[in-house]
Symmetry: C2
Subunit: 434 residues, 2 copies
């Protein structure tokens, strides 16, 4: 397999190259209104410099003509099928990560490269999306990935234009978002970040794999995911996810702690709704060692306060650690992906924020709502139907639904549904969430 | 298997508990001169708080008497042998990490917990050593480890007293060291950090497993490792390592880049000597696709400047990324450990800074020098003997040796070898190294 990426010197404008020059891609892109940006998909920054210095000219000269824009360790040509060690490997998977110079990505990228997520027979291409401001840091990340010598990591490219970075990607992990400044209203944040996800949705629609799986981490992630999918009508809405897995993991840990068992005994935990303080960690359906939580934990007061306990975890961590929880967020992203690419253990399920269309629970249609799902491991999922509902659970679910419907009205200008009308009841961001 | 840790409220003084109360341990410790410290080996900080709040009393009441000081997810009792999923697992491995609240550890701990390092049948106990200043951050790290739900991570404890944290550890990964302040002489740094490693050597000698493997990362790591082993006479000197694996990885990447091959084609790279600017990346013995490097890369000027290229990598990264390379350092620590616990691929070797005693190369005895090693995967190693030497290589090795001999004289007061005499030729710290 030959792997290809395009290198364009910063400031040179858009240089046609393997990543941007396919006829189909060009056609798709011409239909897009685009802000001009630096064309900056590159690999192996140091190598590019060396070429300028005349050091690596031998390598450049040896490379075939079609690849002469590209240099560096991740741009080398080789044939995985020709080697015993790699010939049984799967086809390269292309993974885009936005906010790639941030702390969550700094954990996540190395996990993706190590094989921990997609398995030890799955070669990986990482496409890192950053901003002009973060571009140097992106180069640093790419250099550290080079120095890590991960055998499965076969391509790294970096850029600031989603139309280039998202080209043919199989996964888009959308982490980058603006943090809320002091005194900023939630509506303003929805607007600023919503614009980012509208743009990225358009870019995915134009250039990504037709079956790309999109995981939105940047907050407010449910509504960002909704904006993103509305701007990508050619990609199935079912392929978009908002990350609520960190909430699920924290809920499992607290249930284990309270029950005095190890956390691997806790199953069937659902986070319902919005990734905000209206989220609903579900202890009605959750099980501990196969038994209903309410049988094992009879402390009703604790159970009623459980939602608060889970929500406060992030804030408590920030207090301790002085910054938000990048490492465990990255772990939860890994868990969210693995849940889609490995079969769900029999009887269990996982939480993910997905597009509501024909859901069996009676939750409003046309929003992104976290619900219990199962997967065969093919990247797809089905909603779990064997769930119970009671008044306490349903009331809270409706509250989170109301919030998401209000958020949706607030971003109508970004989803193509008319003028925005913003009437958000209260500030429901999780403490410290970006 | 029941796992035990001791919880002592901060400020309560030394509370006898499973970690500190064994008769043997008490005997060993009584022989040590110790500075009084807070007794702060704990697990699951939040749980401890909950107990104070009366929330988790049910759990406490269920725990057997000998464990009542201990609470939280990592303190639960269970029997790995009783479950199908875990009964074939190996015996728990105890891993101490110093500087545990720092950025390198923040990457490393999650790798250790994931099974990436020791394998998917190896349960892990992490013993995190921090300082009074970093204690809250340590709690945050422990909380993030809890929230990550790693099935193999069966115990986490945190503390600031190495005599408690190092109790019975099988591995000690010594990352914590003071960074050099502005204008600080190297000799002053050697003294300040040397004192830390003298103390930690004494603690390991007193309480660690008799076959503990010690990897020193905190710089200047070679001489710190020498100080550490000299203060731990009851632990084989062969068990101490100084990390030069990041240098080796960077050297491999640069050779691959220059040769236009993927980095998995580069083998037999040795970093000789000190982890400083006198380090010697060896391109005489290195191979690319099984062929000597000098056959593949005929650019002599490039090869002569190769050492500089490798050394400058860290500084270049700091410039790009704004901080030192925590992620790839953590990866190289993983590589260093894996090289000792998995058999070395046939014909290849790896670099690690080890104690010189009876080495076949003619390098001075009684220092810690990075050399080519092979392992059967049992945690031990043998020096590679099938290495070539030429004048260019040997001259540079002698220069690094001279530096290490000078550093050794400079810390004589810490190794029990009389008065220190400091006459370091020049500043040879790697850029940005701590």
């Amino acid at each position: 397999m030959g792997l290809s990426t395009a290198y364009s010197p910063a400031g040179s404008g858009l240089v046609p190259g393997p990543l941007g020059a396919g006829a189909g891609a060009a056609r798709r892109r011409s239909a897009q209104v685009r802000r001009p940006r630096l064309a900056t998909v590159r690999c192996s920054v140091d190598a590019a410099k060396q070429v300028q210095d005349g050091v690596a000219t031998a390598v450049a000269a040896e490379a075939p003509a079609s690849r002469k824009e590209c240099f560096g360790v991740f741009c080398n040509i080789y044939d995985l099928k020709a080697e015993d060690k790699t010939k049984s490997w799967k086809k390269l998977v292309n993974i885009a990560v936005s906010g790639a110079a941030g702390m969550i990505s700094n954990h996540l990228l190395f996990k993706l490269a190590s094989g921990e997520v997609f398995g030890l027979d799955q070669p990986i291409a990482l496409k890192l999306l950053g901003s002009e401001r973060s571009f140097q840091a992106l180069e640093g990340v790419a250099m550290e990935l080079e120095d890590s010598l991960y055998p499965l990591l076969r391509e790294v490219s970096i850029g600031i234009d989603p139309y280039e970075v998202f080209q043919d990607v199989d996964w888009a992990l959308l982490i980058g978002a603006k943090p809320r400044g002091p005194g900023m209203e939630r509506a303003a944040l929805l607007d600023i970040n919503g614009q980012i996800f509208a743009d990225q949705g358009k870019a995915l629609n134009a250039v990504a794999s037709r079956n790309v799986k999109v995981l939105v981490v940047g907050n407010p992630c449910n509504t960002n995911a909704l904006i993103c999918l509305k701007n990508a009508p050619n990609i199935p809405a079912k392929n978009f996810h908002a990350l609520t897995r960190l909430d699920e993991n924290r809920a499992k840990c607290q249930l284990a702690l309270k029950a005095g068992v190890f956390y691997d005994k806790v199953s069937n935990v659902t986070i319902w709704g919005n990734h905000s303080t209206t989220q609903v960690p579900d202890f009605l359906n959750a099980k501990i060692d196969g038994r209903p939580v309410k049988e094992v934990i009879q402390d009703t007061k604790w159970l009623e306060e459980f939602t608060m306990t889970v929500q406060k975890r992030g804030g408590a961590l920030i207090q301790k650690w002085g910054r938000s929880s990048a490492a465990s967020t990255a772990v939860s992203i890994v868990d969210a992906i693995k849940s889609l690419v490995t079969p769900t253990p029999e009887g269990d399920w996982f939480s993910t924020g997905v597009y509501t269309t024909g859901n069996p629970y009676g939750i409003a249609e046309d929003i992104v709502f976290s619900m219990p799902c199962r997967s065969k491991g093919d990247g797809d999922y089905e909603l779990a139907t064997d769930v119970s509902m009671d008044d306490f659970l349903w009331e809270r679910i409706k509250k989170s639904e109301a919030e998401l419907l209000a958020e949706k009205k607030c971003v109508a200008h970004l989803t193509g549904e008319g003028d925005a009308f913003c009437d958000l009841p209260e500030d429901t961001m999780l403490p410290g969430e970006k």
